[in-house]
């Protein structure tokens, strides 16, 4: 039977090879050409798994590049590593009538080991294709051989770019029956053909045709809309440890085995840990003391060499060297806590996806490691790669995300608690009064919470000059004179940071013989309205809350000629509330903006556009004083 499979494979590829030299330009329906910068005419992947550590992946991908915007779609790029070799490669480029222009081979590919990280063993093999005229067709045929650690098979996601449509495709895998494999189809119902014979199982998937989608503002992520099939072995072996990927628990068991012995510290290191915690009265204090130690003695660097992409470095080595990646630092923190008898759990998580596929375990769904300390009634989550963040702070990249606790037979999916905010994410409060030439004196207080706290937190260690420059940028008052500038941080249960400064701005408002014109909100310039297009994609709205609290003193000898009115605009997706009060020659304006996180249907976009338009108009409105 194995021989038959090989023959089948040869027949399939011979067919494709013949097509490669006599290419016919297919007639495509409007639905596949509309809005497409490139069209995937053919994408056929064939995976032959020989055993637990050997697989051959053959692929043919043929694209029609419709216009200049699709130029980047024509490039070839493949990631290789120690266990993945490129055995065969051929590229053929055709003009719009199907005549071959030229061919390229393996020697034409460029290899680069460049990486921004300290140590990775990936090599990017690529070919940048630039053609003078459009449309043209490019076909790449290549074969990869994987030997060693095979944790997953390539995901079949032939639509790689926005404005790309998909025509013919298939994904076949032939695998020993005792290894087994699992798949997960997303955003489509593929045609599946399964065959089992003589110890082998074969699957063939075909995705339905897919029309090009334009990348517009607030688009969902590709994995939420693009058809794909994910594929994993059930039985695998990596780093000399055999495991199963039939459930998250099994994956946790394997990760536990892989990390066995990696959390050991030397006697001296344990002694140091004991010294550091000897004066602590509570377990929480002990955890805090050790986190402080981690913060003061280590730094983050990315190391992804071979199985090191999954196995943490030895804790004792991290303690000695003082650096490590997320796995290494989290494991080291676990090791220190375990050394003094405290519970510590190593956790893998994703920084860019909140939820995981519950019934489909795979390594690709996680890209980060953190750890947690399950004290009675007080589970502390620790991010070990960002030591400037407050102790126990759950940052926005993991807040509310599902994660896998790696704890042998007790491995399980948990959810990181949602970070709670005790106020709006951005809160700006200022008081302003004017001289007769519309120069202004102002006292400002800007408070940031949540993800904005994380972004502004970098100012903790900057000079007063940098703080002043930041204030000028924020207020757009380039000639403002700032005698001071202060950054402070509250690292309590709900951390926030605050900028406080005074300024004198010679050109705050405009003045003529009779009037003074001043902005209603000097921070109001920073918002853009959403423009309503003929939208078909849902709106993927991130959470955002902003509150402005503005007090403006009416200049002596002037009265109000024009003033913004109260506004209340609310909807499921967002809201804007403006309140304006005048009393005792003071104008008090509050503006509250809220964007509610969620995926909203496309038909709500018009209302969203209306509200953001009103929002922008009100934020940039002017107040006019007249003599």
């Amino acid at each position: 039977m194995k021989r038959n499979l090989v023959l089948t494979t040869i027949v399939i590829f011979t067919t494709f090879l013949i097509k490669a030299v006599n290419i016919d330009i297919p007639v495509l329906p409007d639905s596949l050409t509309r809005g497409a910068n490139s069209i995937v005419l053919n994408d056929h992947t064939n995976i032959q798994v020989t055993n637990i550590s050997t697989a051959t992946i053959s692929r043919i991908r043929s694209l029609m590049i419709v216009n200049e915007k699709g130029e980047a779609h024509a490039d070839f790029k493949i990631m290789l590593d120690k266990s993945t070799l490129l055995k065969r490669f051929k590229g053929s480029i055709y003009d719009s009538t199907g005549n071959i222009i030229f061919e390229i081979g393996k020697n034409d590919l460029t290899s680069s080991e460049y990486s921004p990280y300290l140590a990775v063993d990936n090599v990017i093999c690529s070919y940048d294709l630039n053609m003078a005229s459009y449309p043209f067709i490019v076909t790449y045929e290549w074969e990869e051989r994987k030997t060693g650690d095979i944790l997953s098979y390539p995901t079949f996601d032939p639509v790689e770019f926005d404005s790309q449509s998909l025509v013919n495709n298939s994904y076949s895998i032939h695998i020993p029956q005792d290894m087994g494999c699992r798949h997960l189809a997303l955003n489509c119902i593929p045609k599946i053909n399964e065959e089992r014979t003589m110890g082998w199982v074969s699957y063939k998937f075909e995705l339905p045709h897919f029309s090009a989608l334009e990348n517009v503002e607030y688009s969902p992520e590709a994995r939420q809309i693009v058809p794909m099939v994910m594929m994993n072995p059930i039985l695998f072996e990596a780093g000399g440890v055999r495991g199963k990927l039939s459930s998250w628990k099994e994956m946790g068991i394997w990760l536990t085995k892989l990390g066995e012995g990696q959390d050991l510290l030397t006697t001296e290191q344990i002694q140091k840990v004991n010294e550091l915690t000897s004066d602590c009265k509570t377990n929480r204090e002990k955890v805090k003391a050790l986190y402080e130690h981690l913060r003061n003695t280590t730094r983050y660097v990315n190391i992804s060499l071979g199985i090191g992409g999954l196995r943490p470095e030895r804790a004792s080595d991290v303690a000695t060297r003082g650096f490590g990646d997320c796995k290494a630092l989290s494991n080291y923190m676990c090791a220190m806590l375990r050394a003094i008898g405290l519970p510590a759990e190593y956790v893998v998580i994703s920084t860019d996806r909140e939820t995981i596929y519950k019934d489909y375990a795979s390594f690709g769904q996680f890209n980060h490691a953190v750890m947690r300390v399950p004290l009675p009634n007080d589970t502390i989550w620790l991010e070990c790669t960002a030591p400037t963040l407050p102790f126990g702070y759950i940052h926005s990249k993991i807040s509310g995300h599902e994660a896998l606790v790696v704890d042998g037979e007790n491995s399980r999916i948990v959810k990181v608690p949602e970070r709670k905010l005790d106020g709006p994410e951005i809160h700006k409060k200022y008081w302003v009064e004017f001289t007769s030439d519309a120069s202004a004196y102002s006292i400002v207080e800007e408070t940031f919470r949540g993800k904005y706290f994380e972004a502004e937190h970098r100012f903790k260690q900057t000079s007063v000059k940098d703080l002043q420059e930041r204030a000028r940028k924020e207020t757009q008052l380039t000639s403002a004179l700032l005698p001071n500038g202060c950054y402070s941080e509250d690292t309590s249960e709900s951390p926030k940071c605050k900028f406080t400064y005074n300024f004198f701005a010679p050109q705050y408002g405009k003045v003529d013989d009779k009037r003074i014109f001043v902005p209603c909100n000097m921070f109001g310039w920073s918002f853009n309205k959403y423009t309503h297009h003929q939208r078909t994609l849902p709106l993927n709205i991130p959470y955002k809350t902003v509150y402005y609290d503005i007090t403006i003193k009416i200049p002596e000898g002037y009265r109000i000629e024009a003033l913004p009115a109260d506004v209340t605009e609310t909807s499921d997706i967002c809201s804007f509330i403006q309140q304006v009060n005048v009393s005792d020659r003071l104008i008090h304006i509050t503006q509250s903006l809220q964007f509610n996180k969620g995926m909203y249907p496309a038909d709500i976009s018009q209302r969203f556009a209306e509200i953001t338009s009103i929002m922008v108009k009100q934020l940039s409105s002017k107040i006019v004083f007249v003599k």
Binding site: L129, N130, A132, T478, H533, A562
Partner: protein
């Protein structure tokens, strides 16, 4: 054998990158060692760092084959229609346009051309490959031309090089002579850039022109052409909206930048939407002339309207409705590096505001004239008022692309005043109403 050099440097200042700087290393205190030459066993001393003359000689040797390249499109060129070409510049642009249809720039700026045949076959090549092919084409037309070697701005200022070597340069463009004996330049990389218009990174004050026939060289600049932007905007007030008709002319880098941006969007509806969003206007008509490869003259005629602030009896109008220089980019109080502008340019904007019936001018904007000490940077803002018309003429001119840090405070002050002037407000009130 050799020389030992010991250097001790005290109080080296730190430096960080900044806006309006193309290569921060140009301003970094440093001690640079360059290889002067080398001995190989059994051979004579081989000099590397030498004079500009030697470097140019070396370029001629390296390029020997490429400069005698046979025009690969000799036959096809017979079909090029040169009939509408009024002068040498048009003919060169036509050739470059023809070339861009046969070889596409691969995104690489280079100084040599190693893969000429491959590039022709694969329809793809570096800018230098395309430029060498262009030289062969221009020679066939009898146009005198030669390479102009450049150190791009992000690579560093050529004038700071003390020990010239081949590596002082990283790309080349084509210099040619028109029928009046004037020299011009062109680069084939991106087909939005025509004669005397270059990608920002190639606009340099020092480049070396290598006359390969005589073996001589001369220092020149690629920053000689003034790019202009002229706007004429007619504003009427209708139904509490400013209804505007604008006629805009762009030349040089302004035309190229506009075209580049337009091409990136590549969709006229999206383009209109983007402009509408940016300036908070509703565009009812847009007509763009001159949108073709290597165009040096773009004319935009547009009609648009926008909301204005008003009360029952008063209208507040900001005339610089679509003025893009509304913010001072120089935020820092002080600066420790010079300021580099992308190119020299001049902008003239004429606003004509029609006072609506039943209204009168209650307060207007005032003239302003300001320039720097060396007269390179100036802003003139004049206002004239007749019966029912307010006319504003704003002229901005910047004739220099490099300002020393000692000039920074003047620069910042001028831009502050300009930005402030751009937000001036005109007030119109209903007649016979006292405010």
């Amino acid at each position: 054998m050799g020389t030992k050099i010991e250097a001790e440097v005290d109080q080296m200042p730190s430096i960080k990158d900044d806006d309006f700087v193309y290569c921060v290393n140009d301003y970094c205190a440093m001690l640079v060692f360059e290889l002067a030459g080398f001995y190989l066993p059994g051979s004579n001393y081989h000099s590397i760092a030498s004079s500009w003359s030697d470097v140019c000689g070396n370029f001629i040797k390296i390029w020997d084959e490429k400069l005698n390249l046979k025009n690969p499109y000799k036959a096809e060129m017979r079909n090029i229609d040169f009939s509408y070409c009024k002068n040498t510049l048009d003919s060169v642009n036509r050739c470059a346009e023809f070339l861009s249809k046969h070889i596409r720039w691969n995104g690489i700026y280079d100084i040599d051309c190693k893969d000429f045949k491959e590039s022709v076959l694969r329809e793809s090549g570096s800018n230098s490959t395309m430029n060498f092919v262009l030289i062969s084409m221009l020679k066939d037309l009898g146009i005198q031309c030669h390479p102009l070697v450049i150190r791009t701005r992000d690579y560093g200022n050529l004038l700071r090089i003390k020990n010239p070597s081949l590596s002082s340069f990283n790309t080349m463009i084509v210099q040619f002579i028109d029928s009046f004996g004037n020299s011009h330049y062109i680069d084939c990389s991106d087909n939005i850039y025509g004669v005397d218009v270059l990608p920002e990174n190639m606009i340099v004050n020092a480049a070396i022109s290598i006359d390969t026939s005589s073996g001589t060289f001369s220092m020149t600049s690629t920053n000689r052409k003034l790019s202009t932007e002229r706007k004429k905007i007619d504003i009427r007030i209708e139904d509490n909206k400013a209804v505007c008709n604008a006629d805009i002319g762009l030349t040089g880098q302004h035309a190229a930048n506009f075209q580049k941006h337009y091409n990136e969007i590549n969709d006229s509806i999206k383009f209109v939407t983007e402009i509408s969003d940016k300036f908070e206007i509703d565009i009812s008509h847009l007509d763009i002339e001159g949108l073709h490869p290597r165009s040096d003259n773009i004319r935009i005629r547009t009609s648009f309207s926008c909301d204005i602030t008003h009360t029952d009896s008063v209208i507040y109008l900001t005339p610089m409705l679509i003025e893009s220089v509304s913010k001072n980019p120089f935020i820092s109080e002080t600066r420790d590096k010079p300021v580099e502008f992308p190119f020299i340019d001049g902008t003239t904007t004429v606003f004509t505001i029609h006072i609506p019936d039943g209204y009168e001018l209650d307060s207007s904007t005032h003239p302003l004239s300001i320039k720097n000490a060396t007269d390179d940077l100036s802003f003139d803002y004049n206002v004239s008022i007749s019966d029912n018309l307010v006319m504003i003429v704003a002229k901005y001119k910047n004739m220099r692309d490099l300002y020393a840090q000692t000039e920074y405070s003047d620069l910042r002050y001028i831009f502050d005043l300009m930005a402030d002037k751009c937000s001036d407000i005109i007030v119109l009130k209903k007649k016979n109403i006292s405010l």
